[in-house]
């Protein structure tokens, strides 16, 4: 048998590297850790850990049931630790999210539409959150993940709290 050990992080156990400066400002590297951020956030808070113009990577901790979300574009979710269930509904009225809008929107009500399916993601699994659908996440035990999406009304920026500053 192979003695290889591939090191993944988890909410319970993660190690951070860091920036060692020769001649620069560590803030320029916007250095944080998704497990650290997920562990210290409220369940399903969508914390920006990466930003490139309008695009973001949001880290989150999954715990219990999330609200329902929808976006006017595709999004993706990647489980980094634990197990996350994804429920998808085809929006009967895609207009519940402004088609010009960006990012994930929290829906006030249970979405109206046909059930599309259910996905169970474990560590390293990625799912499409397709445009035109609504989704919610469910986790029976704390889990961590990231969204590939666009900055929107649910995106939370707290860079100074999560990033290496000196």
């Amino acid at each position: 048998m192979s003695s290889v050990v591939t090191k993944f992080g988890s909410l319970a156990e993660y190690e951070k590297g860091g920036v060692t400066i020769v001649d620069d400002n560590p803030r320029n590297y916007v250095f944080s850790n998704v497990f650290d951020v997920a562990a210290k956030s409220a369940p399903y808070e969508r914390i920006a850990v990466g930003k490139n113009f309008e695009y973001v990577i949001e880290a989150f901790r999954a715990e219990g049931e999330s609200a329902w979300y929808a976006a006017a574009h595709d999004e993706f979710v990647l489980t980094m630790d634990g197990e996350i269930e994804v429920h998808l509904v085809k929006l009967a009225d895609p207009g519940v999210v402004d088609p010009e809008s960006l990012g994930a929107h929290r829906l006030a009500n249970w979405p109206d539409g046909a059930k599309m399916g259910r996905i169970v993601l474990r560590r390293g699994h990625m799912a499409l959150l397709p445009v035109g659908s609504a989704y919610r996440l469910v986790a029976t035990a704390p889990a961590a993940g990231i969204f590939q999406t666009i900055q929107g009304p649910e995106t939370i920026e707290r860079w100074a709290e999560i990033c290496q500053v000196d």
Binding site: T6, G17, D23, N52, K90, A114, G124, M126, A127, T149
Partner: protein, 339 residues
Amino acid sequence: MAMSLVAETHSNPDASRDVETLAMSNETGYRRFRAGKFHFARDEYFARLSWPGGTRTIPIDAFLRALMRDVAWGFFYGTVAFDGIFGTINHYGTVTLYAGKFDDAYRAAGRDYEELYDSPALMSLFREMLSDWTIEGYDPFAAPMETGTAWGKKSGSNEAAIGRQRVTARRMVGLPGDTPVRTDDLGFPVNRDFADVAQDQPLVEAEPGFEGEVSAYNLFGYLSRSDVTWNPSVCSVVGDSLFCPTSEEFILPIEHGNDRCEWFLQLSDEISWEIKDKNSGKPRATVVQKAGDIACMPADIRHQGFSTKRSMLLVWENGSSKIPELIAKGEAPIVAVTF
């Protein structure tokens, strides 16, 4: 929309197409190549480059690894530095071949030199060079422990290694009609250094009619089956937001001086990045990233990564063609976030 890693959007009728494959050396069996006033030759150990006023000698294994990336990535984003002196700058349709342009001493001495090429012309020359100079048993995409050596006189070729199809998902790996999930049957066994990575696929229960949209796959399993190193490939796409994960072992074969901010999310194990100033080459920082660490490379640096244990890295690019101009005009920040 089909999304390639790097799209060609600019053309310039003044860009040179003056490239030429020269005769084979009777001594080594390798061909020589010429692009304008740049000359390229290889011998048993080295690539030997020359241009008006200068020469450069680069170990051939390192040169071929760098050339492989420049070819596979279509000159990539911004600067691909083969070493501290020689490299290419992508203008997305045209490409600059330079020597000494990003070195203080060369510039101060007026010894920097560059020529502008039509991208397809220089690309065809680079492909021929890569094909002629890569010998049987040497795979410039592979980690050093997984391939033979590049040394010696001309001896066979390795078209299978250098002609690999680049992976570019249009929406997400595994969707119907999109790039497939890797399996043993498709010729992608689990890499020796990821032998312990779980290969289970997510549970996907799609209602009738939604099979094409209810979709998920094991990204970590997918990366554990990559047969190449340092080769970011598009796996999921939101507009211009490109997730380009890759498996890394040994040294990034180039110093990458991106023309925009570029993010790294370390998915497994550890990489250390040496950061230098893009223009002067002076050291600025070292960034060590462990699993879960995420960091941004500013747009005014060059970076080179080092990974002992094969690791999984998510390279995150913004493929928008507007960004280099915005940064050049000072209308976009060179750091992604200020706080």
